[in-house]
């Protein structure tokens, strides 16, 4: 039995999807929590969800999520190119997802830089990265739903 003949034996095929979903859900939830909406709309009043109204808590979790996500992205990329590419190929839907994720990550990196004590961006640049980070996340949600509905997966077997 070899890896080529049993591509589904890859452990990554089992844990990538739930990990990706959990990470993206957490990032989306805590990201939207940066807007003052969860308290206004009683969501933070639901028992156990009070932390959603704590901007520092959601920010902290968002940052931890970003740490895990960056590690995960690099791991996934290296494993794909080093191991899985022989048996699988990325779909066009995957390339769209990757492009949006990259835009989210890049704007997120700039947001993190902006929050460092000695970094000051221009007001225009600050506003553009703040809003585009949110917009790209909304794109990801829309495309994610569309791809799920039309069953457009990340990988297809060669």
């Amino acid at each position: 039995m070899t890896l080529e003949t049993t591509p589904r034996a890859y452990a990554e095929l089992k844990f990538f999807k739930p990990l990706y979903f959990i990470l993206l859900f957490t990032m989306g939830l805590t990201g939207f929590g940066q807007m003052p909406i969860f308290k206004r709309y009683y969501i933070a009043d639901i028992p156990g969800l009070g932390w959603l109204a704590d901007f520092y808590a959601t920010h902290y979790i968002h940052y931890i999520g970003a740490v895990v996500l960056f590690g995960f992205f690099v791991y996934a990329a290296v494993v794909y190119f080093g191991l899985m590419r022989k048996a699988f190929q990325l779909t066009w839907a995957a390339y769209i997802r990757i492009a949006i994720l990259a835009l989210i990550a890049v704007t997120g990196i700039f947001r993190v830089m902006k929050n460092l004590p000695d970094v000051v961006f221009s007001p225009l640049f600050t506003m553009v990265i703040d809003i585009s980070h949110l917009v790209f996340m909304m794109f990801l949600i829309v495309f994610g739903i569309l791809f799920m509905v039309f069953k457009k997966r990340w990988l297809v077997e060669k």
């Binding site: 039995m1 070899t2 890896l3 080529e4 940066q34 807007m35 003052p36 909406i37 206004r40 709309y41 009683y42 901007f55 520092y56 920010h59 902290y60 940052y63 931890i64 970003a66 740490v67 895990v68 960056f70 590690g71 995960f72 992205f73 690099v74 791991y75 996934a76 990329a77 290296v78 494993v79 080093g82 191991l83 990196i109 993190v112 830089m113 902006k114 929050n115 460092l116 004590p117 000051v120 221009s122 007001p123 225009l124 600050t126 506003m127 553009v128 990265i129 703040d130 809003i131 585009s132 949110l134 917009v135």
Partner: protein, 328 residues
């Protein structure tokens, strides 16, 4: 400020286009730089203040054109827990004993014992202009921003009035006025609630080489302004030579407003009225320290992911080689 153009542009086309259009309307107060590029800080010597409120009046006079002129009646907001914040009537506009959207600087009073003698102290309170301001870091729209000269401003054409900046501010400085701003043109009933206002340390005057009004009009020279290094040095000199106490040097990681007081701030804090629009003198830890630490972890995380993945690929490839060898 071209408010109407900015609001309408936001509604047209895609959000990206709106960003660019909004940005084109935004004045670039980043030009308000100190001469040597350093952040500007102010030093407020509490011992000198006589509580005459000349600074308050000067602030109100020169910033009058920035004050909100809300449209009434206010749009009905949902859900019901969203409350109107209105200081725009005649009585509200005249309030001076706290921070409001129409009063960005207030005088606090404290009766304390100085060298065994009961003394009444007064001192101006306003935005501390943090070196790493949570209001600007955490504003979801980029409406609150820190300028290169260390001033933190809130742009009234971009702010939605969600009050997040006040919630994350250790001193609860920004104050909300309903019925004005961008939210009126977007979803006035469902999102936003006006605009947040606070001291912008007369960034427009500084950009033109003038002094902030509160400093210029003070008859007792309570405040001085200069590069932060020099301001901190002067504060330390006063500590060593005159035994005063400093506030603002390390609070929230350091602010661009330093106070020197003849009594410890614990004492002062107990003697002042605190509450909405009346800032405290508590010790404040760096609210954004977690972000600084986790930013470092974000640099390390991809390396950890790379190491794990290389190990995984190496082991799998090795196993493949072994399996292939066994098969042959």
């Amino acid at each position: 400020m071209p408010k109407e153009l900015s609001r309408r542009s936001f509604l047209k086309g895609s959000l990206a286009a709106a960003c660019a259009t909004c940005a084109a309307q935004v004045p670039l107060p980043a030009s308000a730089k100190s001469k040597d590029g350093q952040e500007l800080a102010t030093l407020i010597d509490i011992r000198k203040c006589i509580g005459c409120e000349a600074c308050v009046e000067a602030c109100r006079e020169v910033n009058d054109f920035k004050y909100p002129e809300p449209e009434k009646p206010f749009p009905k907001m949902y859900p019901k827990r969203v409350k109107v914040a209105d200081w725009s009537d005649e009585e509200g506009r005249e309030v001076r004993d706290r921070l409001t959207p129409y009063n960005w600087l207030t005088i606090q009073w404290a009766t304390v014992s100085v060298d065994g003698e009961e003394t009444e102290l007064s001192f101006p309170r306003r935005c501390m202009h943090c070196q790493n301001p949570p209001c600007a870091d955490l504003c979801p729209w980029g409406a609150a921003r820190k300028l290169e000269n260390g001033i933190t401003v809130i742009h009234p054409d971009i702010c939605f009035g969600g009050k997040k900046c006040q919630v994350v501010c250790p001193w609860d400085i920004p104050q909300r006025q309903t019925g004005v701003g961008l939210y009126l043109d977007v979803l006035p009933s469902l999102a936003g609630n006006g605009v947040m206002y606070k001291c912008d340390r007369c960034y427009n005057r500084i950009a033109e080489g003038e002094m902030p009004a509160c400093i210029e009009e003070c008859p007792e020279d309570v405040q001085v302004i200069g590069p932060r290094d020099e301001i901190v040095k002067e504060a330390h000199r006063l500590v060593e030579e005159e035994g005063v106490y400093i506030y603002g040097e390390t609070e929230n990681g350091g602010t661009n407003t330093l106070y020197v007081s003849p009594v410890p701030y614990e004492t002062l804090n107990l003697a002042i009225s605190k509450g909405p629009g009346q800032p405290h003198f508590d010790q404040v830890e760096d609210q954004m320290a977690h972000a600084d630490n986790l930013a470092k972890a974000m640099v390390i995380a991809p390396l950890a992911g790379l190491a794990a993945a290389v190990g995984r690929v190496y082991n799998a490839t090795k196993k493949l080689g072994d399996d292939t060898g066994d098969a042959s």
